[in-house]
Amino acid sequence: MVFLQRNKKPSGAMKTRSLVSITDYTKEKILHILDLASQFEKNPNQDLLKGKIIATLFFEPSTRTRLSFETAVNRLGGRIIGFSDASTTSSSKGETLKDTITMVSNYADLIIMRHPLDGAARYASEVSAVPVINAGDGSNQHPTQTMLDLYSIKKTQGTLENLHITMVGDLKYGRTVHSLLMAMSHFNPSFTFIAPDELRLPDEYKQFCFENGIKYRELSELTDFADADILYMTRVQRERFLDLMEYEKVKNVYTLKNKMLDGTKPNLRVLHPLPRVNEIDTDVDDNEKAYYFQQARNGVYARQAVICDALNVQDKIN
């Protein structure tokens, strides 16, 4: 039974240099991208995309992700075409996704897209003549978020190897959690999964851990992270609960407070894909272990690296 698999050899998507799912990347590729990202952190403004046109197609709005990508393109000297909301485009007049992508791939050198449907980016990468970077397809994948998570982990811990990662919150639907688990599996991690009963990690991911010899334990209370190197917090969303009474019961139980970080390892860092609502108390913000705002800034460097790899221009990096 092999439900979940990492990439061992370049897949179809790799041939076109698209990034649709984090499992499109091999371990070597992940490390290469992270290395590029650290070069962009040192020297963010480089004219590597001079003369290139990058399309940012946001079929559903996501200001945070779009600004991060567009900042990355601008720092690399590229030009941007696109839209930030599908209601202003021909797809709202019934044009198929295939036609929109085919048209745009005639104009642009690279497509960065976000779409409300699961699998839209994979389909676009098959239709498009130019590489596609997935900036979120429904509830399925958001691989550049995972790259910035990995970059943040590597930067704060000095390595990705042999870390203990505690994941908290919505582990059932949280796509950032699933992608991070798959990506970290290359680096001999161990995990603690903390979630309310309704939002526990799906069995296929536990099966994946088991088959790959990855140690994990499951808890239902937000306690005991003495052995954690990374505390990865996610949002527990009300709409995920069938029974709102259950939501009311757990919503405050899963709030991280500053005093809970007493006695944790000195190298521990708290990550969160943002936006947070109430799962991290604001009294944590001034703790040196709070890393979620720097984590967001790392997104620009990680996206610069992913874009350069997709366009194969990394040889010119200073």
Partner: protein, 153 residues
């Protein structure tokens, strides 16, 4: 063996294909999957027949028709226990278990209502991730579908 011989005799088939041990509630799905409702060959459909293994079963006998493995193996999606008998000159010359291909295109509908294949004109494509228990994974939305949830388009 004696059991199956007795049944094969019921409607003796000179040449053709017998698909045996089809679950009774899947029989007509198999008929439509193989497009047997529109073939010219002589077709015998038996349902609710006694089976020592299953209690009740369905059986299809198609005269002078031999399927490509790619075509016939599709039925493993809905009736993985069905047995395939190739008949030549009244003899069973080949008995084959069904085997799922690695990839399934077009015939299955993705269960995820938010999948791009259910909202845009996209042909479905699935990787078979578990051949024994029958589980398939959508190549687009990456949802895993177990045998009991598989829907034929």
């Amino acid at each position: 063996m004696a059991d199956s011989k007795k049944e094969l005799v019921v409607v003796a088939l000179e040449n053709g294909t017998v698909i045996d041990h089809i679950p009774t509630d899947k029989l007509f799905q198999v008929v439509s999957l193989l497009k047997l409702d529109s073939i010219d060959s002589q077709l015998t459909i038996g349902n609710n027949l006694y089976s020592s293994k299953q209690g009740k079963k369905g059986i299809l006998k198609i005269t002078d028709k031999f399927f490509e493995p790619k075509e016939i193996n599709k039925i493993a999606l809905i009736a993985p226990c069905a047995k395939l008998n190739i008949i030549k000159n009244y003899e069973v010359v080949d008995k084959k278990p069904l085997e799922l291909p690695d990839e399934i295109t077009e015939i299955v509908k993705c269960v995820n209502p938010k999948c791009v294949t259910n909202n845009e004109p996209v042909k479905t494509r699935f990787h078979v991730v578990d051949k024994n228990n029958v589980a398939i994974k959508c190549c687009y939305c990456e949802r895993i579908i177990q045998q009991e949830d598989i829907k034929i388009q």
